[in-house]
Symmetry: D2
Subunit: 137 residues, 4 copies
């Protein structure tokens, strides 16, 4: 298992007229969560695209909304990899507010695509290598 925590402050432009963080913006918080998880491994999603030529399109997204997040809330995004990626990679995400209440939980599954051929490929070996120590028994 490998996990990483990062924080995001809710922007005014992300609220809606209910005064909530609009439900459509959580996907972007998930995105930041997994980008920062990769960075914590010493890699970045940017280099994944630029150097490895691997894109990671999203295959599925599931989320449940437990309580609202509001403007200026500092949200902790906890992103967890429970399994080594093979042909897909699944990030499990939980968002907590400053009172440590669960705001939202869910998961997002992505695949790996070679930018040139546009074909699905296995998880890049360097990514598996970086993760392997965290999954060793």
């Amino acid at each position: 298992m490998y996990q990483h925590h990062t924080k995001i402050r809710v922007r005014y432009g992300e609220t809606d007229q209910m005064g909530y963080l609009y439900y459509g913006h959580y996907a972007q918080y998930y995105e930041v969560g997994r980008a920062e998880l990769l960075r914590s491994l010493g890699w970045t999603y940017r280099r994944m695209e630029e150097e490895a030529g691997v894109l990671m399109p999203v295959m599925s997204l599931n989320m449940r909304f437990v309580r609202p997040a509001r403007y200026d809330d500092l949200i902790e995004v906890r992103t967890v990899l429970r399994q080594l990626p093979e042909r897909t990679i699944t990030f499990h995400v939980e968002l907590y507010n400053e009172a440590s209440d669960l705001v939202n939980g869910g998961s997002v599954k992505l695949c790996f695509v070679d930018a040139r051929s546009q074909q699905a490929v296995r998880a890049p070996e360097f990514l598996r290598s970086l993760l392997l120590p965290h999954f060793a028994k």
Copy 2:
């Protein structure tokens, strides 16, 4: 069952550097789909909030991404109610591109909240009345 179809053209600002409609924007397409479904019943979500004092926060969202949508694609959003709303309402959504290929499918579940008391309530009676003829045996 009650369904409604509406069309949304992908904006440039909704694409990402992969050249895809960013996965986080689909939630907004779902939102437009259910708003237009309500309008087709002779009601609007705006009046739901303003006149009936009922908010509809999202409880869960599930989507699978089948193929990319791209800039300027005219996406057909097909929104379906399979059941009369009780304490919650679930919209089933499918997005199709101009070649009638499925782009994305999923569902979103919302509840009803009284704006003043902030308590969960049952689906407003007027909404059930509007839907009832479409669910009669």
Copy 3:
């Protein structure tokens, strides 16, 4: 002079907790306005990129906010070209609500960039040809 009008309905996700169309979303309405103006000429911005290999990055944006737009408002976007494009193109934009009140007015200036060389270029000849009849004395 050449002008085109198009309509955009304010989405829930575009409002903020003040109940206004968030000021950051107007730029996207301007984008839709100029994309539809191009389409009305028998061309599209998509083909500009894909077939002509010309990108149009924004150089400057100026807007004044006259009155709020709100959720579900049907906004008319009036986009005007006052001059034939040379090395840059400037769109003048006004947004009106359903009561025909001015909501927002401004302008956006873009340049033309060759996608391969990434160099600034003059407005493509085909675009000037399409506009010329509308600017003839």
Copy 4:
């Protein structure tokens, strides 16, 4: 004069298919810049709304785009108040990339509105008091 610097990392969902930070998202970076400037004074925009009952709608926005920002760039947002607010407040903003190149510059003018009466009011006295020491001769 009072100024504050803050940093924002460009999210994937904020890029467009040109590979640029979409021009419509800069307004949100400006918003974060002024929110953090207020926070650095020991106040927050959230408390402005909640405690002082003062809203700050945007009156005008002007920006020039000097060079693109790209995915994962860490952008420094420099926000400057050149004058004590009276009936309006103007924030001057410059965005720099990690190479300290200017990416974007502009200004945004807001007014103060009493949330209850919806009338324009003068800048709240507490805000002027917090700023005064920085503007004393």
